[in-house]
């Protein structure tokens, strides 16, 4: 798809009256395919639809809480409940080491990024198939639907972070300038989450097996990341492989910055960024290549 601009003049509209005609863009539609050009063109179109992404994210959040009494509290109730359960099981019963930090704080700081990842992915994969009328009757870049779920989950994450800072104050963990490293960490996590969400939601349109398998996969995924245990518990010879998973290494960095006030391990952060970038490019390209025929499969 290419776009160029051709000048035009004034014109009449029955309701809006006489107005200066907007320059006309030429849209070229070709059969979809996996190519670098498609990715770039897709990103340009997506940029033009940024207002829709914004509107849809806001509405995702407001719809979710519109008919519930507890409303926003749900965003923090889930991590708090899980924190309590995991503290009882893994600290009281199993005596899992927690890098010297209080275990509730340790597990809560791992749960927040994990819950962001898992709820964003599990909400977004059904996004495309839940409202088939949107896909079969209207056009807009389809990736906006899964991405809006990711952004809505990011808002929940931000709310839960307020509780996290309260918890840190309670355990007297002081804030630190290194906390600013949280921004790149969360950005990479958000990008990786988007990559997974785009890829899985596009497969889900064709094969609904993804939606059935996902709860199990996420369960396994949680134990493949240092949520309830510390990275230091992973045997050294597996640790490189373990940290190749961006979710694992980002949760580890998140905790390292927040609880210990250290700078992240830049080699690990860079690897996570690189893996994320590759995944995102492949997943977005795949999404764009399948987008054109999604409406036919619903």
């Amino acid at each position: 798809m290419k776009q160029s601009i051709v000048p035009d003049s004034r014109r009449e509209h029955p309701i809006l009256g006489s107005r200066l005609a907007l320059p006309r863009k030429i849209t070229v539609i070709r059969p979809p395919g996996f190519s670098f050009g498609m990715i770039v063109a897709g990103l340009i179109t997506l940029f033009g639809y940024q207002d829709l992404l914004y509107t849809l994210t806001i509405f995702r959040i407001s719809i979710r809480y519109k008919q519930s009494i507890l409303g926003w509290i749900w965003a923090v109730l889930q991590p708090l409940a899980l924190m309590t359960i995991y503290t009882l099981i893994f600290f009281r019963v199993a005596r899992v080491p927690s890098e010297g930090a209080p275990y509730p704080l340790f597990v809560f700081s791992g749960l927040l990024p994990w819950i962001f990842f898992s709820s964003a992915v599990s909400n977004s994969i059904n996004g495309l198939i839940n409202y088939p009328a949107l896909l079969t009757k209207m056009y807009f870049p389809r990736e906006i639907i899964p991405l809006s779920y990711v952004l809505a989950a990011l808002v929940d994450f931000a709310i839960a972070c307020v509780i996290l800072s309260g918890l840190m104050a309670y355990y007297r963990v002081p804030p630190n300038w290194n906390d600013l490293y949280l921004f790149p960490i969360v950005t990479i996590l958000g990008a990786f989450t988007s990559a997974v969400a785009l890829f899985l939601s596009s497969i889900q349109v064709r094969f609904r097996d993804v939606g059935v398998a996902l709860p199990l996969l996420l369960q396994v995924g949680m134990f493949a990341a240092p949520v309830v245990y510390s990275t230091t518990s992973v045997p050294l010879k597996f640790r490189q492989l373990f940290l190749l998973n961006p979710v694992a290494s980002l949760i580890d960095s998140f905790r390292r910055v927040l609880l210990h006030g250290l700078t992240p391990d830049f080699a690990i952060l860079f690897t996570a960024g690189l893996v994320t970038l590759c995944c995102l490019a492949v997943s977005y390209g795949y999404f764009k290549a399948t987008e054109g025929n999604m409406a036919d499969m619903l």
Binding site: L16, R24, R30, Y49, I63, L134, K137, Y139, F207
Partner: protein, 389 residues
């Protein structure tokens, strides 16, 4: 300037073979293979629409008309070929499909507006006018799930109307809201057309095509059969439709049936005259029964090109307990005065016994009614009159 051009565009739909269940697909890894059933909705279609021109597309169901709309509005992608669109394109079709029931009217204006490609500031600037045009100001802050279906569609149409597109796509003539709102919409469309917007109209309503379009195109089985002035194309289409000889069979094969419809013919009383409004018409319905049947009803249904059921001939009114023997026969219906107006009618035939459909053939024939006694309106009413002293 050319606003729309299609260059050798084809669209193929892959149809899942329903005989392979998902679990079997999983076990045999059949899902990795390509589905075997393939349907070409469009084959090598090329055409251009000039700026300010309005094109009408006609054709039977399944000819590919809606596929063209879907391709142009980018809902689905072409399998091969290239489409060029110059300017903003909007379909006044299915205008309220983007609504979310839990959100208020105002929130939905923002949601649907941005789905149609408007920016938030653009919507903020137009929102008052949108609410005004839809005429639902009192309800604008109520969730749309409490709206009546008419309000739903009015709001949807109003948003789409404010999009100010360069190119308009219209599917069928709008059946939106009440009569007053319909008139408002049609008025808007004709004003948009006058102000130089390009238009593509897809319709079964040949009269609307003739009235609204500068140019018409006839599609058949995904290919452009003819293109030219609306009058010429419509005439050609009617000629083809008249020569339909192969009916569409519905249901099981003939051997499995108790009875079947065999043929249907319409004539006037004089065999050299055509069927005309206001004059007698004779319909002969040939059938073959394989069993002795009780409580038999023969039906002939007439549809307008839009699909609206317009009239019915039936044996059930005068004899609901008709008994027929084995073998073939002919039912002759005699209408002393044909009351329908000139035009083309699609015809379904059906045989029922004991209230159960035994054979039904949809769209199996066409009735061409020629001008006879000419009156205004939808029907000719046979009348006698006298002057009272």
């Amino acid at each position: 300037m050319v606003d729309i051009s299609l260059n050798h565009v084809s669209k193929r739909y892959l149809i899942d073979d329903s005989s392979r269940s998902p679990s079997r697909r999983w076990h045999t890894f059949d899902f990795l293979r390509k589905p075997e059933k393939v349907k070409w909705a469009l084959r090598d279609v090329s055409f251009e629409v000039e700026e300010g021109e309005s094109l009408g597309i006609i054709g039977n169901n399944g000819a590919g008309k809606s596929t063209i709309l879907k391709l142009l509005s980018r809902i689905t992608a072409p399998t091969s070929g290239e489409i060029r669109i110059r300017g903003r394109l909007a379909g006044l079709v299915e205008v309220s499909s983007g609504f979310h029931p839990e959100l208020t009217g105002r929130e939905n204006i923002f949601l649907n507006g941005s789905m149609l490609g408007m920016t938030r500031s653009e919507i903020t600037g137009k929102i008052e006018s949108i609410i005004e045009f839809a005429g639902i100001r009192e309800y604008i802050d109520v969730p749309v799930k409490h709206y009546s279906s008419g309000m739903y569609v009015r709001l949807g149409f109003s948003i789409a109307a404010h999009l100010d597109p360069d190119i308009l796509l219209l599917d069928e003539v709008l059946a939106v809201g009440d009569l007053a709102f319909q008139a408002k919409c049609l008025d808007l469309i004709s004003q948009l057309r006058k102000s130089g917007r390009t238009m593509i109209l897809i319709s079964h309503d040949l009269a609307a095509i003739q009235k609204l379009c500068d140019h018409a195109m006839l599609l058949q089985r995904g290919q452009v059969l003819m293109s030219g002035s609306p009058a010429d194309v419509i005439e050609h289409y009617e000629r083809i439709a008249m020569s339909v000889e192969e009916p569409i069979y519905v249901g099981a094969g003939a051997d499995a049936k108790l009875a079947e419809c065999q043929n249907l013919a319409f004539t006037s009383e004089d065999s050299d005259q055509s069927v005309r409004t206001g004059y007698p018409m004779i319909a002969r319905f040939g059938f073959r029964a394989h069993e002795i049947l009780d409580d038999v009803v023969f039906n002939i249904l007439f549809y307008w090109p839009s699909g609206y059921l317009c009239a019915q001939l039936t044996t059930s009114l005068s004899d609901p307990h008709l008994r027929i023997g084995r073998g073939s026969g002919i039912v002759e219906f005699h209408c002393p005065v044909l009351e329908v107006q000139p035009g083309l009618y699609r015809v379904d035939v059906a045989i029922e016994s004991n209230g159960v459909s035994i054979d039904s053939q949809r769209r199996c024939s066409v009735l061409r009614v020629h001008p006879g006694k000419s009156v205004l309106g939808d029907f000719y009413m046979d009348t006698v009159w006298r002057m009272l002293p």
